[in-house]
Amino acid sequence: MKNLLYGLLFCSGSILAQGIQNGQLSGNFQSDFQIYVEDDALDFNLQNPSSGFPSEQFLANGFANITYTKDNFSTGIRYESYQNALLGYPSGYKGEGITYRYAQFNKDGLDVTVGNFYEQFGSGMILRAYEERNLGYDNAFDGIRLKYSPLKGVYLKSLVGRQRLFFEKGEGLVRAIDGEISLNESFEKLSEATTQILLGASFVSKFQKDLNPQYNLPENVGSWASRMTVNHGRWNFGAEYVHKYNDPSAVNNYIYKNGDAFLMSGSYSKRGFGVSVAAKRIDNMDFRSERDQNLQNLIINYLPALTKQHAYALATIYPYGTITTGEMGLQAELNYKFKKGTRLGGRSGMGLIANFSNVYAIDKQVVDSETPLDSTGTLGYTSDFFKVGDEKYFQEFSVELSKKVNRKLKFVGTYINTEYNSAAIVGYKYHGMIYSNIVVLETQYKIKSKHSIRTEFQHLSTKQHEGNWLMGLAEYTISPHYFFAIQNLYNYGNKDNKLSYPTLSAGYNKGTSRFALSYGKQRAGIFCVGGVCRNVPASNGLSLSITSSF
């Protein structure tokens, strides 16, 4: 099989030489190198094996994609190498090889893909195969996918395949089908209507043999979903419901309870103003193609967190991750631009983004008086759909104001207040609920044409966990090619260890190529998924990152 593919590639090479007028070749490449330096303040050294200091001292990740397209045909290949993988990457990334290859053609409305592919049904809560290279996440399917539109406005997709697990494939077999109908396209009378309606439904099932001596496990696990989107001018409304049949797995402690997920969202927006609200409920929805897997491995679906995604350094110390065994919550966001000339708007207007989100546990009750909650080999628990559980997992309120003061100066001010249930979300030992307040002030000052300096000042105050943090950053950019930056995170509020994480970085950009060099220390982190906890150690060293495309 592999030889055949290599042969095809060489053939397409010679075809290229002849048919270059019609075909297109393109690709991209990224490489990250890191040299680790021992650091006694962080206890990051060879003497301390649990610090994770790599005995190789030099680690490198890299990948390259090449794609060839001609008329209705396209093919691509990706080579990845982890020699060895950078600290913090899932430990399965060891070695090198071709991890992605496909051929796709489109004829008479039938779109066929063979090989590896990514796919999403609706919001992804029933099925989503995607890649996030920087997190080391990749659950691509290897198999066959068909897309067909039998009638105007009706779209069908079906796929069968196994998922990627580092350099191997999962044992579980996934079969899925999805149908979507755009009522306005299908029915002539509705094509001019302002209300646009889309309906969709999917069915996904996975197969894995039962070799367990203790339990009688279901070999075929099925799940179905239905969704709808309604759009009326400035209003938008969407809802999706997913139901999964008994799926005892390592993550849910082998209970036979069915699972479901519900996501609903609505928004109104017009120029200068936008507001959105969303609510969701997840109950036992961890869905993998192998029942004993953990962490980020072989996940079939995607359960989105409904909390605001932050980019500022201190705001990422307590990040939220969906608790797939059960949670419910909501989010509301307001986007507004104060117009020029108004009192708050000033000369060029002021932007406002306010966001509120929270997440609670679902209500779990025992199945009967003899069976404790979540007991292995039982139905686990019962849960009332509308009841909110007692435990609060997360709550956040944030406000961001951005204003251009004059031709040279802009600033963005942010305030974030967070309640973070560290035991439930990330598995931290007895730190309980972490209450934190973060203020960020970012300014951008244009020194002269093409030269600009950006500064960030951040402060996090909390009485729990590691205490207060202070962060400062100054970045000098010369458009369009250069940047230099210096930053430091200082954990001054820590009673045991007031650690400082300074970093120096510089980079060069040209067209699609980007080079970035940085030297300094990085904070540690722990994360737990489905009963297994991983530690990303604090580290110190020099890193070089190169990315390009053609």
Binding site: S91, A250, D292, Q293, A423
Partner: protein, 289 residues
Amino acid sequence: MKAVKLYSIIATVLTISIFSCDIVEEPFMTVQEEVSDSCEAFIFSPIENPIKKVLLEDYTGQQCGNCPRAAEKAVELQEIYGDQLVVMAVHAGFFASTSSSYPTDFTTEAGDDWDTNFGNSIAGNPNGQIDRVNFPNGHIYQYSQWGQIIDEQLQSEPQIGIQIMASHNEAANLICVDTQTEVYNTIDHDLNITVVILENGLISNQTDYSVPSQHIEDYEQNHVLRKSLNGSWGENLGQESYLEHDFIINRYSTEVSTEWNIENMLVLAFVSNPETYEVLQVEEVHITE
């Protein structure tokens, strides 16, 4: 293009100059302890009904909140398989580190070396290995998979048998260990024997996510690896290949540490293939007076 050249030169120079220098100091060989004269040699008779026993290594840590679940699973499986399942708890990695609330150190040199080689703690705790099968791709198993793999391993007939005699010589403050490895089928590769000491009934702190305070002060740690008597990777049994009825005797002694409670201690020996690390047979006994 110039910038690319510059950056590639910098990267190459840095990598060559900084990372590739490991300077090793004396002693160069890992030292094996000599057997003390105070230990008397023991004479074994052959095993009457040899059975295959399976080694379960539970990689765990006192700060790992989900690890008590894995320990409970090991207990469940011992109730099913009895003597045929031998459990060893290896404390290693980030979650086995000490802190002000977790002052006891259960890590060992052997455990650290195994963890670095097999990558158990970086894959996320708890997890384990069964007879160290499927190294390097697929040797780490979640505790929900243990039952299935142990079952599979117990289907095979024993190729070798191990007997251990372990005694405590109070006067000399030594533990004396004698092992006899018997061969039942032809084996045409190298074999290594590793002999370690475990301790049961150690009461200490443990993080446990199933209790409201997330912390247990008087948790009972069992099967804890304390020390290897012949290095992290054991020693070669001495022959290039082995025939039916071959037997090899090994003898060890070690000083008793003041931290140990001899009554709760066991000696565990396993014979493995030094190339694939796969364990062919394991045996454990309590230390007698």
